[in-house]
Amino acid sequence: MSALRALTGRRSLTGERRTPAWYAAVTALCLFMLVPMYLLVVNAFKDQRDIVSRPFSLSPGQFTLEHLVAAWNNPDFDIAFGYAVTIGLVICVNIVSIGVCAPAAYVIARSPRPVFGAALLFFISGMFIPTQVILVPVIFVLRALGLMSTFPGLVLFMASATVPFTIFVFTGFIRMLPASLDEAAAIDGAGPYRTLWTIILPLMKPIVATVFILNTLSVWNDFASPQLILGPGSGLYTVTTGVYASVGEYSADYTQVFPTLLLAVLPILVIFVLTQRWVMSGLAAGAVKG
């Protein structure tokens, strides 16, 4: 690859040169993508009049922390609490999802019994269920189980939504691992649980990482499920439902909108920038999910 690049000099594989026009185009596109973020940051420090009259201006002399502090201390939406709930959800959903799917995928991938082939098809058929539109019947099921408006109820539903895809990719991955590994473990007297835990699972790190990233992003960004399942009665809210509750009613008051949104996105953006290589390669590996 590098030899080829050396041969072709500055020309890329497509044959196009990295011309100034190319740099200008990519830079302009990057700026376009970043404009909303710029507006979000600078306007979080301004007064309403300043935001409305000069939204693009950057004058640090007139910056005020007043509205950011007010947003942080908003009694209706404790951002730290929203973050804590959301992070708790991410952790619990991943544990439940990976915890139930790894053994199931292991059996499906390894057992010669035809029933497990049918089970795989059954699980895969769930992949295309648009989860948010079945929330209405999910509410009745959770109510019957006594889990409506509770954290465990939300975790179980979110985890169930991840099961089809997780089993699908786990099974595909385990099938690529040599079966002689299991046979050797079995001859040494290890049962299937032990083989899974000590031999298979450690080899599954890359696919577990992919699933973890996908689950995390979908749980983090989910709005409909926490909105309907947690409801106002539970006293729990995630970042998304908290933002909705605090910004939704006051969307004309920009001194509330911008600081609240900034505080809501800042941590996840920092996490993303620190882990972007990992997140993007994981997503590319599992991008079939959509």
């Binding site: 890329s12 497509t14 909303p36």
Partner: protein, 331 residues
């Protein structure tokens, strides 16, 4: 039994369609009939069942059973109160669904969002993937910039853009300062729908960009080199070398974008609230924010069933098309 267990070791139908390695994977040779599992000691069926059961319970309990309930409620007049016994009303809800101008409108909006949105998303993603094909420090940075909106939840994206494009928003204030009249990004029916689609595209094309970037890895470098040697221009190279190699990625990117677009809900809530005059009310918004609060569980369930069917037809239809296309290429 032996035959079935042999087919059990094959890749599942969907797996064969995913462009994992970009090219066709050699199939595993089938086991000879009559020998089911080789010399491997068999695990007890109870142990195996105990390993599958937890996943099955979670999946069936909270995904399959609700879908079943949605189908059942869609044939009843249920209003969601535990005291009411749902009464079977046959296809009434489905008839109402197609007769109501409101619901039909939301179907049209969803179809427009899904088709136009996936066009915009895929055009943007493919174009940018071609621009950012080679990995350098600069393109790696640009990819992160293109992708970052994907980690912002759509509810935040909607509020942010409504603050930017609203009547008093940043863009209109800029337009005013240069002396032109404000644009009705969110207050005119046609404008609002276009704005919704473009905002979704801005926020969501990152995944498709990654799919295309991964797909470009499968473009054979020798072919590119050869076509250039033969004097093909950039368009000819794209049309005859890059595009054919990208075909599987295009299918996957189209399906994934369409399937996620027919579920559009969050961004409608925060950007337009379905307005003005219902012009941006999507089907999922109709279910969750209109029918459900009105306790029309029967109607909402019928709508959910329709959406599930459309998603399934879309997914399997496009997969089948691609399979036929692949076979056509091989023959």
């Amino acid at each position: 039994m032996a035959l079935m267990s042999a087919s059990n070791t094959d890749t599942p139908p969907a797996a064969a369609d995913l462009p994992r390695e970009g090219g066709a994977r050699p199939r595993r040779p089938r086991r000879p009939i009559g020998r089911s599992s080789g010399s491997r000691p068999r695990t007890s069926r109870w142990v195996e069942a105990s390993m599958v059961l937890p996943a099955l319970v979670v999946f069936v309990g909270l995904l399959v059973v609700p879908v079943g309930y949605a189908v059942y409620y869609s044939f009843t007049d249920y209003n969601g109160f535990p005291t009411q016994t749902p009464e079977i009303v046959g296809f009434d809800n489905y008839v109402r669904l197609f007769e109501s101008a409101d619901v039909r409108g939301s179907m049209v909006v969803t179809a427009i969002v899904a088709v136009a949105g996936s066009m915009v998303i895929n055009a943007a993603a493919l174009g940018l993937a071609l621009l950012l094909w080679r990995t350098t420090r600069f393109t790696a940075f640009a990819r992160v910039v293109m992708f970052y909106p994907h980690v912002l939840s759509l509810i935040v994206v909607g509020f942010l853009w409504s603050a930017i494009l609203g009547p008093q928003g940043a863009v209109n204030s800029l337009l005013e300062s240069v002396g032109s009249s404000p644009l009705p990004f969110l207050s005119d029916e046609t404008w609002a729908l276009a704005t919704l689609i473009l905002v979704i595209a801005w926020a969501q094309f990152g995944v498709q960009l990654l799919i295309y970037l991964a797909g470009l890895q499968a473009v054979p470098a020798e072919l590119l080199e050869a076509s250039r040697m033969d004097g093909a221009n950039r368009w000819q190279t794209f049309r005859h070398v890059t595009w054919p190699a990208l075909a599987p990625s295009v299918t996957v990117a189209l399906i994934t974008s369409m399937i996620s677009l027919i579920k559009t809900y969050d961004v409608v809530v925060s950007l337009t609230g379905g307005g003005p005059a219902g012009s941006t009310k999507t089907f999922a918004y109709q279910i969750l924010a209109v029918e459900f609060p009105k306790r029309q569980v029967g109607l909402a369930s019928a709508e959910a069933v329709v959406l599930i069917l459309v998603a399934a037809i879309l997914a399997f239809g496009v997969l089948a098309l691609r399979r036929r296309h692949d076979q056509g290429v091989q023959e």
